[in-house]
């Protein structure tokens, strides 16, 4: 009997002792552990990366001929410079002569041609962005020069090439899906599915080398455990925190506030009743109090917007549109009466269940719409169902979601409202808007284009295409032993500029 008790006690003591060992974590300032919400589940091949969460990690490993900087300008990367020939259809890229792949090979003009041909769909893949198929011919001029001929002029072309999706990859490599090789400041070391992705500093990087030796992206799928992991010390950084989570963090962290660069809106299916009536859509815009949404969901943090454009695209952004519809219950009611719904109506808001901020916004909207007699109910669906039924199938009444820009041009946020666009999931259709969109495609002058885009934004506001709400605030928490995080106008996590605090 006594033996048994002794055995139990021994087993327990041993386990506790082992635990104690694990608790002694020595700080190594040369590496950092960053939490991310989901694993890279689409592909490690940059040309197939669909999810914003995948692109933000791969941004550290890959580069295109060009890349974005902090202010949203497009700067040379693998290319040293480029020229546009007068017709706007031909581009000549001069490559840097000191760019190496992570496998040690020098980037050649052949690699560039291979990469561009691959993203243009010439190897059998569907181009990630339809615009890539504009590249009709890529020619190797000499060892350091590549020319690209477009089937039609397109001023936004450089911004497409600055995306991770247009990364330059080595042509004699097979396993893009599992062993990515790029030219970025970090090289891929290993991944453990649903666990972590490890990157290491690339010492032969052509530009400013990274400060940290090693970056581990750790997958933390439950939002509730993020704070616990940060406080417990198993994470040093997390990039997309909400106000609630930030409130639970201690002084060990520096909190930086930025914007998510998303257009969060109550998107309306413009093809179904009653939302096919502009008066109903306007009534919804007047019924909603955006300021109140921000106050209730994020302590007032975030930027109210009035059209499909967010503030960090400062060149195209029209701040006055955010004031176009101010909450006016009387006006909303009379518009509804005019449209034939004096007593309001029932509607469903479909929201993907994995995005709490959108659910919160939808909940406030439901309450606000009650005031004008509209009885809205929320239908939570799984992300995949949202994609297939709501987004692709367009089988919904309304949905709250955030739309991001996948490249650095206003077009990324505006082209989906062209009536014939494949991704026009709101079924918005306006002849004037279509005419402007078709016109902007032919323009080459940057200023004229910007004006045109601004007009398009105004139409979306006036026509009340959707109830535009906000560009959400987001918070980055970085352990105090590190510094150097900066925001981009795109959804990326640049780890190369983060350094331990003592190093100047």
């Amino acid at each position: 009997m006594k033996k048994a008790i002794v055995a139990v006690v021994c087993a327990l003591t041993l386990s506790v002792a082992l635990c104690a060992c694990a608790g002694d974590k020595t700080e190594k300032p040369s590496q950092i552990v960053v939490g991310i919400a989901q694993d890279l589940e689409d592909s490690l091949d940059p040309h197939k990366a669909v999810a914003a969460g995948t692109r933000e990690v791969l941004f550290n490993v890959f580069e295109g001929l060009l890349k974005p900087d902090y202010d949203g300008n497009i700067v040379p990367a693998v290319a040293e410079s480029y020229e546009v020939l007068s017709d706007g259809q031909d581009y000549i890229f001069h490559l840097r002569n000191n760019v190496k792949f992570h496998n040690g090979n020098k980037v050649s003009a052949e690699d560039v041609k291979y990469s561009l041909d691959k993203i243009a769909g010439k190897m059998g893949d569907t181009p990630m962005i339809p615009a890539y198929s504009l590249m009709e011919e890529v020619t190797v001029v000499d060892e350091q020069t590549v020319s690209v001929h477009l089937s039609e002029a397109n001023v936004d072309f450089p911004s497409y090439l600055a995306m991770v999706n247009a990364a330059i990859i080595p042509k004699d490599h097979e396993a893009y899906d599992t062993e990515p090789i790029g030219t970025g400041p970090f090289s891929f070391v290993s991944r453990s599915v649903q666990e972590s992705i490890v990157l290491e500093r690339f010492d032969d990087y052509w530009g400013n080398k990274a400060y940290l030796k090693r970056v581990t992206f750790k997958i933390v799928p439950q939002m509730d455990t993020v704070v616990m992991n940060l406080r417990g010390g198993s994470l040093d950084m997390y990039a997309h925190l909400t106000t609630d989570q930030v409130a639970q963090l201690t002084d060990d962290f520096t909190i930086m506030e930025g914007t998510m660069n998303l257009v969060q809106a109550l998107y309306l299916n413009n093809a179904v009743k009653p939302f096919d009536d502009i008066r109903v859509r306007q009534a919804l815009c007047y019924a909603v109090d955006r300021k109140n949404i921000l106050e209730l969901t994020s302590e007032g943090k975030g930027t109210i917007i009035g059209s499909s454009m967010f503030p960090s695209f400062s060149k195209y952004y029209l701040p006055e549109l955010s004031q176009y519809y101010k909450q006016d219950i009387q006006k909303a009611k009379s518009l509804l009466a005019e449209a034939g719904y004096p007593g309001g109506f029932d509607m469903t808001i479909t929201v993907p269940s994995n995005y709490q901020p959108h659910i919160n916004t939808a909940e406030v909207i439901v309450e606000q719409l009650k005031e004008v007699g509209i009885n809205a109910k929320i239908n939570l669906v799984e992300w995949n169902s949202w994609l297939s039924d709501t987004y692709v199938g367009r089988n919904y009444e309304s949905t709250v979601i955030g739309v991001d820009a996948s490249y650095l041009s206003a077009r990324a946020l505006l082209e989906r409202f062209y009536s014939k666009a494949d991704d026009n999931f709101t079924n918005f259709s306006d002849p004037e808007y279509d005419a402007l969109y078709e016109k902007v495609l032919t323009l080459t002058d940057e200023e004229e284009k910007t004006l045109c885009y601004k007009e398009m934004e105004q139409i979306l506001t006036k026509d009340a295409a959707n109830v535009y709400i906000q560009d959400m605030a987001e918070f980055v928490a970085l352990r105090n032993t590190f510094e150097g995080y900066r925001f981009y106008p795109l959804y990326v996590l640049d780890m190369s500029r983060i350094k331990p605090k003592d190093i100047q």
Partner: protein
Amino acid sequence: MRYGIRKGMTMIITILMVSLFVFIAFSVIPGDPATQMLGTNATSEKVNALREQMGLNRPLIIRYFQWVHDFVTGNMGVSYSYHMPVKTLLAEKLPITLTLSLLSFLMILLLSVPLGIITAKYYDRYFAKLFDIINQLFMAIPPFFTGILLTYLFGLLLRAFTPGGFVSYKSNFGAFLAYMFFPCLSIALPKAAMSMRMLKTSVLSESKLDYVRTAYSRGNKTDQVLYRHVLRNALLPVITFLGMTLADIVAGSIVIEQVFSIPGFGRLLISSIANRDYPVAQAIIAIIAGIVVVINFMVDILYPLIDPRVKQHENQ
């Protein structure tokens, strides 16, 4: 022998049924791997082209038999999300879930058997009654909640471990086992409470039987009677319960993996369902079902060996 064959057949049919249900379930729920892979770049045209390319447009029943055929021949396919063979993926995660299950089981044994015997032996003492109350408490709390409590108490307040600080068994096996301690404890506590209580009642009810009185009248001491006669019979129902518990732990560890951020089968299963990564989800479910069925099979086989009456009954 016939008994074994019959149980074996039942086992195979169960696994086939489970995998068929999974197949049907996946075809009923909305969304598919093609939409997932294309994300917001998806258009109905692109989705269809990709479905065709992935062979998803073939009839369900053909896909099912193809899958069974491949699975039996050892080919589990390639994950849609991770682009690596499912076999490699699972081989990496299996040790995690198995360690979690087996360590919890070991804890249940170490806690419940000695404590069950002690509390039965001294059933009228105060400490045994105290154990009864504690027992009742642990039986009532589900493992995930125990997990949250343990994380808060030992992780955040006492700092005995780092919540979320899972260490891979490949990089540091000691640290890996250490991290597994609290997850295992949260699985083990309610089950140990149940099996301890079961053993106690079983011992107590056996002690009232005639053969025990006979044993005492022959001049045996308490401990001799307890260990040589009573325990052997009293353990029978407990072994059945432990068999069921082991199967339960394997399936239930999925929840605890979530609470403690352990990247084992559970997390992989949940993410593969969300991503419609069928090859991975099906393989995991088939394997878990297989483990559960095999354990039950082993208990069934063991039973007649421990208690010859079962075999006699079966043969009649």
